[in-house]
């Protein structure tokens, strides 16, 4: 039996081979983002995004002086 690979989309499970697949990169100052899109024609039927945070947030402690 030959199974047709399917992928879940906004139009239900569709044969993955019937879709156009594209990826995009968004490079920010503190992150890299990979966006994956599957298309039926010009319509995006599945879009995923994966963000890699390069750096979190820092706070600086300060102490005052006793005069």
């Amino acid at each position: 039996m030959n199974d047709t690979p399917l992928i879940y989309t906004s139009k239900g499970n569709l044969p993955i081979d019937s879709l156009r697949y594209e990826t995009f990169w968004d490079i920010g100052a503190t992150y890299y983002k990979l966006v994956e899109r599957y298309y039926v024609g010009d319509e995006v039927v599945r879009e995923s995004a994966h963000v890699y945070s390069l750096q979190g947030l820092g706070a600086t402690g300060e102490q005052g002086s006793i005069i």
Binding site: T9, K33, E47, A49, V51
Partner: protein, 151 residues
């Protein structure tokens, strides 16, 4: 030898582990770690340094997204390097098979044990998700890059 004025590094780490209670009353008596969550917010929302607690205002909504966001499974034990105390979640934040049709660009980390008090807001560029997955991979847990750092 000479004395040097500074905020003690151990104090910064102990802030992250809840050791110090300033003021006239102690507001917590728990002896176990708090639970934290991560919620996503629309690009049109206003979450920033002045945010004090989780709110549904401006939170994303859509198929398979649960209000309040995901639970952060665990944090690396707060530690120090040089004069910096830091910690980072041990795993990525992930939302699977979601549809978030309205652009979002921020995640709020908050303390769901302590009245949903806000911890931090992180932005990542406007995004939508259609019947797909959204993941936020954590930075390296070190004194330069950790998600939460007190220098």
């Amino acid at each position: 030898m000479a004395n040097t004025q500074a905020m003690c590094t151990s104090f910064k780490q102990e802030l992250l582990t809840g050791h110090h209670a300033f003021g006239t009353t102690v507001t917590r008596g728990a002896t176990t770690a708090d639970s934290f969550k991560a919620a996503l917010y629309l690009a049109t929302a206003t979450y920033n340094a002045s945010t004090t607690a989780y709110s549904t205002t401006g939170e994303v909504s859509g198929t398979n997204y649960t209000a309040g966001g995901v639970t952060i499974s665990a944090w690396n034990a707060p530690t120090t390097s040089g004069t910096t105390a830091f910690t980072t979640p041990t795993a990525s934040f992930a939302w699977t098979n979601v549809t978030l049709a309205t652009a979002f660009d921020a995640v709020l980390v908050y303390n769901s044990t302590q009245a949903n008090r806000a911890v931090s807001v992180h932005t990542f560029g406007s995004q939508t998700v259609t019947a797909g997955n959204f993941t936020l991979t954590m930075p390296t847990n070190d004194a330069t890059n950790a998600l939460i750092r007190i220098a």
